[in-house]
């Protein structure tokens, strides 16, 4: 029944009793309304335990447990009504889905909604296409009150399937999201999810049964307006918007009851490489972000069902809740050389058709998506070579290339310079528990490795910043012992004002006799990335920034950009990794001379628009990837540099295979560099925005200013549009819900 009809019926039913029968053979009880202005009586930090009543939340203590075949109805609060929130509907374990859809009289559900409204307000429920969460829904889904020990919550996203193909150091990844409407009225599904921060999203399909509709990339405002019109007129439509370089918002409008709409997204990206290991990462959940007071660019973290406005926010499931969303991942590797070893953060099944090919898949295709999937593979050591990949556009003749320069393995024997090591530890609420303990152990390991000529400082930040010492202190045994005691006393809590940590780390005089290395230990769960990058760029001076991502689903975009802006490198410390090993390896690399004065002789290639613009220093074991355009013929490239004062020359050849994905990879690098420039230099005239938009449209890529939209104009669904349902997600593994979610 559409909303217009519902209003008429509701008015006709004025004055009915609060309780109502909803299905044959059972009694329906309405949850007592929970005042919209006070938090619901629910303890999300409670230990996981099965709820024998099947209720998602408890209401007032007087509410009895539902009998078999009982259905509870949700009427979500709106911004324009005084109707209080009531609890969600759960079908008991013996309920039959068909019985519900065949026998549930919709007017009864409307009666429940209307009487709840009358109890609080004389004003009619306002129906418009902008209010969040308007409407009442009956959930008609297969009866399963529990998943394991957690309470099942009906949500539209059923499954995400990831299929990746890796060739060389470029991966092509196809992500399929399947949305099914478990309710008896139309819905709009909204889902915020992560992708790798360098993902070049170039393909978008909406799949309805046997029909596939390819989406069109347009300027963001235009795509949003097209989607809004389609949604309002009842057409099935999809919209993909970039909220951050590594966070995307998917909207699917007018999903009819019981129907399924799938979205296929394809992206390309360059794999990370370190010490002989390539790393494929697929992030599965956006970590809850802390947002300093800034009304313009929030990425909120809110409890399920509490999203109130139109700003971007991720809804999180309470620890005792579980939706039906699960994930499957498959990766096919064609390395071209022998694959020596493979390891993953998850349990995987591995097939090896040959020594150079591997197929890896999650063992459990219904894996809970609450931590990043990382697959590392090592190829035969002596065959790892610097590579030059190319592609030429048949229409324009323009060439695109990607050069990966891999320096010689192993630290040099040349003695290192004295260091001034500054550790900046994120002690905010999201770091509570294992993440902070990992960070402490990593810092303690570093302290043990310092020499007598080195100095160090430890800075802690959350709401503000505090220092271990007034100035960096010498790495004497006494100072190191005091520092260990300081680390042991560190506690977590409060917000994540990372700018304060940046200021504390960089706003003091640099010792010219030492190399200042500033190491951030953080999960990166903040919403103001551009402020952080701008602060680093403005204060860097002679320092180098090294970012350690600590946790399972860290903000890789921020961490990678901090390291790039700070001419350093990034490292990741998972909750199950050895902090001593990771930090020890890290120090081995950064403590010795790097490759400097890197220059390229491109041979017969005439290169333009190469990124990064400024060639960074190159640390042993870490590659340098340069992406650009060219005319002429690709051949051998000669790279010259100095290592510890000694000259080094490397010749890099092309395999002459054509790789069309390089065009999008290059465009993505260009967009990223321009966006970084805008974050610290500003863009008052909008020129950077225009260039980003032009580049993205030309290469059909997502960006901060371009979005994908797809509309099925063949048939209108009944009514104008549905109820908006935000796909709630679990907090990342190891993150405390109580300290991170509003």
């Amino acid at each position: 029944m559409d909303r217009r009809t519902g209003r008429v019926v509701a008015a006709a039913l004025a004055g009915t009793a609060l309780l109502a029968m909803l299905v044959a053979g059972g009694a329906c009880q309405a949850m007592a309304p929970v005042p919209a202005t006070s938090p619901p009586p629910w303890n999300p930090d409670a230990d996981e335990r099965p709820n024998p009543t099947g209720a998602v939340r408890s209401s007032t203590p007087a509410t009895p447990a539902p009998r078999q075949h009982e259905v509870w109805v949700i009427a979500k609060p709106t911004a324009t009504t005084a109707v209080d929130a009531v609890e969600e509907m759960v079908v008991s374990s013996n309920f039959n889905r068909r019985a519900l859809t065949e026998s549930a009289p919709s007017p009864n559900s409307l009666k429940l909604r209307q009487t709840a409204g009358e109890a609080r307000s004389a004003a009619p429920v306002a129906w418009d296409d902008q209010s969040i969460g308007t409407g009442a829904m009956l959930a008609s889904f297969p009866a399963r009150a529990h998943i394991g020990a957690r309470q099942y919550v009906p949500l539209p996203l059923e499954h995400t399937a990831v299929n990746a193909a890796i060739e060389g150091h470029i991966s092509t990844v196809a992500v399929n999201q399947r949305f099914e409407n478990p309710f008896d009225t139309k819905i709009e599904a909204v889902y915020l999810f992560p992708l790798p921060e360098k993902a070049a999203v170039g393909e978008f399909l909406m799949v309805i049964g046997e029909r596939t509709i390819r989406g069109i990339v347009r300027e963001k405002a235009e795509a949003e307006e097209i989607y809004r019109q389609a949604r309002a007129q009842g057409y099935r439509a999809s919209l993909l918007v970039q909220q951050r370089p590594n966070v995307f918002e998917q909207k699917v409008a007018n999903i009819e009851p019981g129907k399924t709409i799938e979205v296929d997204i394809t992206y390309f990206h360059t794999l990370a490489y370190k010490d002989g290991w390539y790393s494929f990462v697929f992030p599965t959940v956006v970590g809850p972000r802390f947002n300093p007071p800034d009304p313009t660019d929030r990425l909120g973290a809110v409890r399920r069902g509490s999203h109130r406005d139109t700003t971007a926010a991720v809804e999180y499931l309470a620890p005792s809740e579980r939706s039906g969303h699960d994930i499957s991942i498959r990766v096919d590797i064609d390395a071209g050389v022998e694959i020596e070893d493979l390891k993953s953060t998850h349990r995987v099944a591995i097939e090896r058709p040959s020594s150079t090919v591997a197929s890896i898949a999650l063992e459990n295709e219904k894996t809970l998506p609450n931590r990043d999937f990382v697959l590392d593979f090592r190829v035969a050591g002596e065959t790892v070579k610097s590579t030059l990949l190319t592609h030429r556009d048949a229409d324009t003749g323009r060439g695109f290339f990607s050069l990966m320069l891999i320096p010689p393995r192993g630290p040099s024997d040349v003695a290192r310079h004295p260091l001034e090591l500054v550790f900046v530890i994120d002690a905010s609420g999201s770091m509570r528990g294992r993440p902070l303990e990992q960070a402490k152990e990593a810092v303690a390991t570093a302290l043990d490795r310092l020499g007598g000529d080195d100095t160090f400082q430890i800075i802690r930040f959350s709401e503000g910043a505090s220092r271990f010492g007034a100035t960096p202190v010498r790495a004497t045994p006494a100072n190191i012992a005091r520092a260990r005691a300081y680390l042991a006393d560190l506690r977590s809590g409060g917000g994540t004002y990372m700018v304060e940590g940046v200021k504390a780390a960089l706003d003091f005089p640099h010792d010219p006799a030492r190399l200042r290395f500033v190491s951030f230990m953080t999960d990166g769960y903040i919403g103001n990335e551009s402020d952080i990058l701008g602060a680093i760029h403005g204060r860097l001076g002679a320092s180098r920034i090294f970012s350690f991502g600590v946790g399972t689903s860290v903000n890789r975009y921020l961490l990678e950009r901090m390291a790039k802006t700070g001419r350093g490198v990034v490292a990741y410390l998972g909750l199950n990794d050895s902090a001593r090993v990771v930090m020890g390896d890290f120090l081995d690399r950064i403590s010795h001379p790097v490759l400097t004065e890197i220059e390229f002789d491109w041979g017969d290639m005439r290169v333009a628009d190469a990124y990064p613009h400024a060639t960074p220093d190159l640390f042993v074991g870490r590659p340098l990837v340069v992406t650009g355009t060219f005319t002429g013929e690709p051949g051998s490239v000669t790279v010259s540099a100095r290592a510890g004062g000694e000259p080094l020359i490397v010749a890099v050849g092309s395999d002459h295979a054509d790789r069309p994905s390089l065009a999008k990879v290059w465009a993505r690098e260009r967009i990223a560099e321009l966006a970084d420039r805008a974050s610290w230099a500003g863009d008052p005239g909008g020129e950077l925005k225009d260039t980003i938009t032009t580049t993205a449209l030309a290469h059909q890529l997502m960006s901060g200013y371009t979005s994908f939209v797809a509309v099925d104009s063949r048939a209108r669904t009944a009514g104008d549009h549905g109820v908006t349902v935000y796909q709630a997600v679990p907090v990342p593994n190891g993150v405390r819900y109580s300290t991170t979610v509003d």
Binding site: R214, V709, A710, D712, R714
Partner: protein, 161 residues
């Protein structure tokens, strides 16, 4: 009372729908444009161009056709939706399916979903059609609009050059 309420609701809904149909004929609306290829031989690849001489459309989706041999959404030219006075799209697709599975005769090869702001004047042009071994095919192309869209828009079908 309840029955009266339902009758009232249905009547109001019907009135509302009728009012919507009688909206101003040039109000923005979404229209599917079916592209039909008529080929005397099995088709393995094709390319067409669709444009609107009035500049009244925005392309909002491109859908696959009816042949199982072309079961994915076709590709479109990256310059086709860059705005400007006239919006046009070049759409193409190919298949590696066995010849026995290739479409022949009159086949819907794609649907272009558009948002029409005013009265459109569609032009569809067949750029190329080819067999599995790359031979050009002397085929014809046409477009089919939904009934209500036919009342509001014009179209022209042009053969390959």
């Amino acid at each position: 009372m309840k029955r009266l309420g339902c009758i009232l609701a249905i009547a109001l809904a019907a009135l509302a729908d009728a009012a919507e149909q009688a909206d101003a004929p040039h109000a923005p609306r979404f229209v599917p444009v079916d592209i039909v290829l008529d080929s005397p031989e099995p088709v393995a690849a094709w390319q067409f161009e669709l444009t609107d001489r009035n500049g009244a459309i925005k392309i909002v989706g491109i859908e696959n056709g009816e042949s199982p041999a072309f079961d994915r959404a076709p590709y479109y030219d990256r310059d086709a939706t860059q705005g400007g006075a006239v919006e046009r799209v070049v759409v193409a697709d190919y298949t590696l399916a066995d010849e026995a599975e290739l479409p022949q005769g009159r086949t819907r090869i794609a649907t272009v979903h558009v948002l029409v702001a005013d009265e459109a004047n569609f032009v569809v042009t067949l750029v190329a059609a080819a067999t599995a071994d790359g031979r050009p095919i002397d085929a014809s192309i046409s477009l089919v609009l939904a009934t209500d869209a036919k009342r509001r828009n014009r179209w022209t079908e042009e053969p390959a050059a």
